[in-house]
């Protein structure tokens, strides 16, 4: 007892005294070989993805970043809680890093888990400027594993970010090769009847919306840890070992549905924060999100990590195997997803002018024939088979069928597990050990996610960043953000510097995240304890949506002055140890 106490005391003191690390990163032009094409891009320390930065909770880090490019750069530490001047957003945190200059970041590591870093300048991030961050906790983790791997996904495109943005502005469907064709009209007509199909197409045509608008940007090669499907990144294991896979989605635009056929995954972290473990067969990772899962392969065989893009236009593939060179079966891509009228629900409230009014009656009529085939068959396929012999009385909670409370009812993009099993929903996420006391929010701020696909404009409350005033928050308040997605696309909203407490209806057990996906036609709430002074970026993490204007500056007014805040943070840290 006494020794424990002493040991504890020592542990308290050590981080405050000695834990400091210095790291060096260079920002370089690099060649990126995806297996399908070789492309010049931007990387760190001569490679893309950059190195995995391994920190320890309580450590005081110093990171020297040298810009070897001929343009400005920056590094944002995605999801890290730090003084705002260290957050790495040009024009908000600091001016940026000039060519040839070395900028030194200094901040205390206050948290643990899986995070990542990336450039916040121009389109350097889609061009390859990203890397992983792994932070070892001070205490014991609420789960066990024998081995760990970072599994960092990205969507490398043969075009540069600037070119992609220009093409999207010129022709918003430039990269969409999953549009509905004449052939699909006839196959739909055979299934749902000619008139129904015609009505369906007319309803969408009237809105000038495409059911196929699930992925703006196709034609990429999806990479895992910088390796394309052919190059097959492989993680080695010994049968029976428990492996922690740290999934990070560093894509510019692509959501992935991830599964490892033959293995059950236990999700233990979301966005770096421990969650109560959830067993799943498959999960969807939004752009900029991270999920840590534990798997336990028991057999002497290769397992494929298969990550299909949400729109099914591409996939990333890697392998877990007892020996290098072994390969598992690589599944086929599933059929492309189609939006339904339910996903358009957010648009009804908007004033479309008289032209669009005629469409709404058709919409109602169409809803069923359009979605019917998909939803019902999926539901039937699911059939809660893992709950043999149960009577599904009214108490039945969500999370078993092909519905998900975080998608519009009848949405065409509700994910379904390929093996008919459990697909992770936000609704399953519960904080393992809540960081904040639950309390009433002081006020609510509504943020409508708005845009116009045909013009490729994206905005918040109809206003682009260039025309917008900052969102002003008061230090010490708890703000409830109400996201109303009035577009037909999914937006991963990322608030810098402060946690996003995602409202999954679990009160004090609501999980904390740094990136919250808002599906089309849905309203999602998150709360933020405004506990960091300064100014911060708040934006959709789809690179081309953020660049088009779905971006805000948040100013936290009041609170301890900034120098004070930094020293406070250091002291706090020692105290937490």
């Amino acid at each position: 007892m006494r020794t424990t106490f002493l040991a504890g005391l020592a542990a308290l003191l050590i981080p405050a005294l000695g834990l400091a690390g210095e790291y060096n990163l260079t920002v370089d032009r690099v060649q990126i070989d995806t297996g399908d094409f070789v492309k010049e891009g931007i990387g760190y320390n001569g490679e893309s993805p950059g190195p995995v930065l391994r920190f320890k909770q309580g450590e005081e880090v110093t990171i020297n970043v040298t810009n070897n490019l001929d343009e400005m750069t920056s590094i944002h530490w995605h999801g890290l809680i730090l003084p705002y001047q260290q957050d790495g957003v040009p024009g908000i945190s600091f001016p940026g890093i000039k060519p040839g200059e070395t900028f030194t970041y200094r901040f205390p590591i206050q948290q643990a888990g899986t995070y990542w870093f990336h450039s916040h300048s121009g389109f350097q991030e889609p061009d390859g400027a990203y890397g992983a961050i792994v932070i070892e906790p001070e205490g014991r983790e609420p789960f066990r594993y024998d081995r760990e791997y970072v599994v960092q996904l990205t969507d490398k495109h043969p075009h540069s970010g600037d070119r992609i943005m220009r093409n999207l502005k010129m022709m918003p469907d430039y990269y969409n090769r999953q549009q509905q064709t004449v052939g699909e009209f006839f196959s739909d007509a055979a299934e749902h009847g000619f008139m129904n199909t015609l009505k369906d197409r007319m309803a969408w045509g009237d809105m000038r919306m495409m059911k196929a608008d699930v992925e703006d940007l196709q034609g990429f090669t999806a990479l895992i840890n910088g390796k394309g499907p052919e190059q097959n990144w492989t993680g080695i294991f010994e049968p029976g070992e428990r492996i922690r896979l740290r999934f990070i989605n560093s894509s510019a635009m692509t959501y992935f549905d991830i599964r490892i056929p033959g293995l059950n995954m236990t999700v233990v972290q979301a966005d770096g924060n421990n969650v109560q473990p959830v067993n799943v067969d498959e999960f969807r990772i939004g752009v900029a999100e991270t999920y840590d899962v534990i798997v336990r392969p028991r057999d002497e065989q290769a397992y494929t990590i298969f990550a299909e893009s949400m729109g099914r236009s591409g996939f990333a593939r890697a392998t877990l195997a007892p020996k290098e060179g072994m390969e598992g079966v690589v599944p086929e891509l599933r059929e492309p997803a189609r939006l339904t009228m339910a996903d358009m629900a957010g648009m009804h409230g908007m004033d479309h002018g008289s032209m669009d009014m005629s469409g709404s009656s058709d919409m109602a009529g169409m809803d069923h024939s359009g979605t019917g085939s998909m939803e019902q068959s999926d539901m039937a396929g699911m059939d809660h088979s893992n709950m043999v012999g149960m009577d599904h009385s009214g108490m039945m909670m969500s999370n078993t069928g092909a519905s998900d409370p975080f998608y519009a009812k009848g949405s065409g993009i509700v994910p379904v597990a390929a093996n008919g099993g459990k697909f992770l929903s936000y609704a399953d996420l519960r904080a393992q050990d809540p960081l904040y006391e639950d309390r009433e929010p002081t006020r609510e701020i509504e943020l409508k996610l708005t845009g116009n696909m045909e013009r490729y404009t994206w905005s918040i409350n109809g206003v682009k960043y260039e025309d917008a005033d900052p969102i002003r928050l008061q230090y010490g308040e708890r703000v409830r953000f109400k996201f109303v997605n009035e577009t037909m696309m999914t937006h991963p909203m990322h608030l810098h510097g402060m946690w996003s407490i995602l409202d999954v209806g679990a009160d004090q057990w609501n999980p904390i995240k740094h990136t919250v996906s808002v599906q089309p036609g849905t309203t999602v709430y998150m709360e933020t304890e405004v506990d960091e002074p300064g100014q911060w970026a708040f934006h959709c993490h789809l690179s081309y949506h953020a660049a088009a204007g779905m971006f805000r500056k948040v100013i936290v007014e009041g609170g301890p002055d900034t120098t004070q805040a930094q020293t406070d943070a250091v002291v706090d840290n020692g105290g937490d140890a």
Partner: protein, 248 residues
């Protein structure tokens, strides 16, 4: 010193401190992100060789180059019909317009148009509307007033049918109506002419290079047809076309 004065001073002092502090630490966003995004593009919707049923050969283009922001774009629209045998431009027009959004799917544009084909030239003031109509019709309607005081209207519509995601059948209709006669350039009053085209294209390189083949039907009407006949020209032509859509 009275209490009020003291308070005021204190308040002033703290104000000074806070403002200077914020000025130092909270920087203004002057990066490109905070500026309107300027972008550009060049497209040749038609760049083709035409061979008519009366053995006439034409080189034809219809191009569109733009630079600007969501709010304001500068556009250079160019159309030309070059008669290969005669080595002369049957038609050559260039429009310089400014374009700005007026509704969710439509833009207004205004500017000037210079017609410099073989024969007399004309300069027009242009006022137009362009955008995406329900059911995916791309429409473009323009009103022109010439330096001679004549007024005409042009209406363009295009529809793309996706046979597959790479094989595209596009139908285009172009109609010109004049509100007054301009004999010098062979323009009668009323419906002047129509051009209808049907092109089957294949996206070879992204959407940057899409070769196509097709047929085009040109017809003149009323007084315009009479004027053309009087000059020994044809009033109706069928063309086989081969070309490519280009975008960069």
């Amino acid at each position: 010193m009275s209490r009020v004065q003291f308070l005021t001073l204190g308040l002033l002092g703290s104000l000074l401190v806070t403002t200077s502090a914020t000025a130092q630490t909270m920087i203004q966003d002057t990066t490109a992100r905070k500026q309107p995004l300027a972008t550009w593009g060049v497209q040749f919707e038609e760049l083709e060789y035409r061979y008519s049923d009366s053995d006439e050969e034409l080189g034809v283009w219809k191009s569109d180059a733009f630079y600007g922001t969501d709010e304001l774009k500068f556009r250079w629209l160019s159309k030309g019909e070059y008669a290969i045998e005669e080595q002369a431009y049957e038609g050559l027009e260039n429009q310089l317009v400014l374009q700005t959004p007026i509704s969710k799917f439509f833009d207004a544009k205004a500017g000037v148009r210079f017609d410099t084909p073989e024969g007399p030239d004309r300069t027009y003031a242009v006022l137009g509307v362009t955008g995406l109509a329900p059911q995916w019709f791309e429409v473009d309607a323009n009103l022109y007033v010439s330096d001679e005081g004549d007024t005409l209207a042009e209406f363009d519509a295009e529809y793309e049918l996706l046979l597959t995601n790479h094989w595209i059948l596009s139908a285009a209709l172009d109609a010109t109506v004049a509100f007054s006669e301009d004999r010098e350039i062979g323009q009668g009053k009323g419906l002047n002419s129509t051009e209808t085209g049907l092109r089957l294209s294949y996206d070879l390189v992204d959407r940057a290079v899409s070769p196509y083949i097709g047929v085009v039907h040109e017809r003149k009407y009323g007084d315009t047809a009479d004027l053309a006949e009087a000059e020994g020209g044809s009033t109706e032509d069928w063309f086989a076309v081969v070309g490519a859509r280009i975008a960069f």
